[in-house]
Symmetry: C2
Amino acid sequence: MRPTVYIKDLSQHVGKEVILKGWLYNKRSSGKLKFLILRDGTGYVQCVVFKGNVSEEIFESAEKLTQESSFEVKGKVREEKRAVGGFELDVIDLKIISIAHEYPITPKEHGIEFLIDNRHLWVRSKKQVAILKIRHRIIKAIRDFFDQRGFVLFDPPIITPNACEGTSTLFEMDYFDLGKAYLTQSGQLYAESGAMALGKVYTFGPTFRAEKSKTRRHLTEFWMVEPEMAFYNLDDDMDLAEEFIEYIIQTVLKEMKEELKELERDTTNLEKVVRPFPRISYSEAVEILKRKGVDFQWGNDLGGTDETFIGEEFDRPVMIHRYPAEVKAFYMKRDPENPKVALAVDVIAPEGYGEIIGGSQREDDLDALLFRIKEHNLPQSFFEWYLDLRRYGSVPHAGFGLGLERTVSWICGLDHLREAIPFPRMIYRNTP
Amino acid sequence: MRPTVYIKDLSQHVGKEVILKGWLYNKRSSGKLKFLILRDGTGYVQCVVFKGNVSEEIFESAEKLTQESSFEVKGKVREEKRAVGGFELDVIDLKIISIAHEYPITPKEHGIEFLIDNRHLWVRSKKQVAILKIRHRIIKAIRDFFDQRGFVLFDPPIITPNACEGTSTLFEMDYFDLGKAYLTQSGQLYAESGAMALGKVYTFGPTFRAEKSKTRRHLTEFWMVEPEMAFYNLDDDMDLAEEFIEYIIQTVLKEMKEELKELERDTTNLEKVVRPFPRISYSEAVEILKRKGVDFQWGNDLGGTDETFIGEEFDRPVMIHRYPAEVKAFYMKRDPENPKVALAVDVIAPEGYGEIIGGSQREDDLDALLFRIKEHNLPQSFFEWYLDLRRYGSVPHAGFGLGLERTVSWICGLDHLREAIPFPRMIYRNTP
């Protein structure tokens, strides 16, 4: 019963009879002709029902089909340059599978809350289908990139006994008789143990932040990929990050032309995303802000607006390195040449999409790390296993994290992260 | 500073000088010679330090190295059939990076609790490295299989507002002002909405069961892949499942020979995993049990021991279909030819590894599904969005779920799931 031909493969069946199965995307009539746009998830094709070619019954079936009704159609494939997808089907037979109730999502404009309430149906829309396919292709590009370079996937735990970066934004739960447990915010610390075992690893899974933030750049549940490499310093880390971003962007540009067109994405700026990316220090970034008239103090963290200001100065992603140690995490290594700054790097996407990568060289000295843990008032006992990585064959190492949904939003040109994931989770929403 | 040569690539450097970076796996001395086994995550190589070839200082450095100490070594690559990996390094220079404290995991036997307490170090052991690499290769095979067949990855939410299969085994949490939320047990219901949008989708992510079960076949956090296909019936579903399993096994057998050898896995039985797999109905399975003297009543669910008994009858995975509807989930379609049974299928792995796949054709009739929801005392309001998939263009569809860690255990020949994932989570353990 499963389909033997999908719409995306119609070019291989020109002049032949095929059976297609799917849903009615749109319909119009013109006297003895009915034009049915069928969608099957792989594409769209216009099915032409001519009264002279089919029985009365079949013509009436075509009449009955409502938006999103499911049906099976038999017909001859014809090349038709002007049609969607480049082909048309001359219908010979048509079987209704299920007539849809009045479909709530119509071509008219809907409010965003209504659309997210109906996310289980909204994903059928042309634009959402294109985004989801691009998301899939980005994920594949990410995995291919690391797999081809000798990285081993190293899935970190989701349920963790302690916090990686503070406890205020953690989702908490009871874990049997073992007390509280938390949803992971990052797999990095675990990835470091993997790098000591396997050399180069990456994690790729869901991460969580119970942040009371309602901006368009925040989800409470999002996917993150985090490579971690033994014997890499900050420069190596930046080399890898720029190669990685270039690979993702150029792969998607090459392979997802149709979907990007569907989204009306102007790809001019994406095409410029080729190595080398500009690399500036945090101090140089502060100079840029001051030159632009922003009242900014050395030592503060860069905010979203600051990042946008800096991003505007460059035609491709910009790497900002060596941040004041105070605004960065305890595990980042200090610059031996200037202990006020951490060997950290953030990569800022162009077009106002903000930080898409955050990374650093990690502190590999046991005593320095112990000192930081105390300085940050973190419970040392929680980090004994992490300290072990410095006790037993410590090596210089580095890594970074890339937020998947931010990357999808940037590439697709979306206003809000909520369309970059099938079922978005935000502070005020955990349904459907 | 990053390594330019890794051990796995030594064959390309025979007769040349290379610099390797890694950790001391093992060491022995013989007069003027020191034999250092270096591991770098990609392999193992014996580095030969001959007193006559190096300075006193370097020879003393070699002396100082303890198990898991990190070092950098320069030397000439020589083919040596008898050595691990087939090559040896004649050492010219050696730099200590970090001397390891006394390493807790020694070649002697350790208790399993001790090893899991030290999981962050245990992952460096030869056997664990082999398992983790095979796990990675299995995951890649899974993704390649679906990507090559036109499936779109469709990540379901992890935080869900309601339970897919009962509430007793759910991890619960507070979700801001929206009340309780739960960690997902399965992405299937969401995948169904994806199949209606994209035709064929798969989910692949962590799933959770707060089961108070201490058996070797249970983790509270495990990864599951779940394909879902529009216009597939139970037979199509079984065709896909057997093609899928064959693909995974044969790919791993072909590409992970060395790692399987490291695990001393007898692959005789794995080699037999080729299509077609035997397909028997639940009723036929009951007959087998009775013939074997098991006191089993038609209508009960098959337990682990029953599955092992049935599995023993066949030389490859066996597909058991058409279970009593009462023991299966509410969303499974009844067999039109026998409404007592559901169009479900479980795939039982050989060698006692139990159920690795559970799947079914889904109920696509709105009224039948409404009836089941009431019959199971499930709150209809939670399932309105799911019912929408039957209101708007319902089609026959089917899917299944494969447990990743069970598959890894089977292929690697492991006794317990805890070694099949980097950081296992069990009822009595959520650390490190």
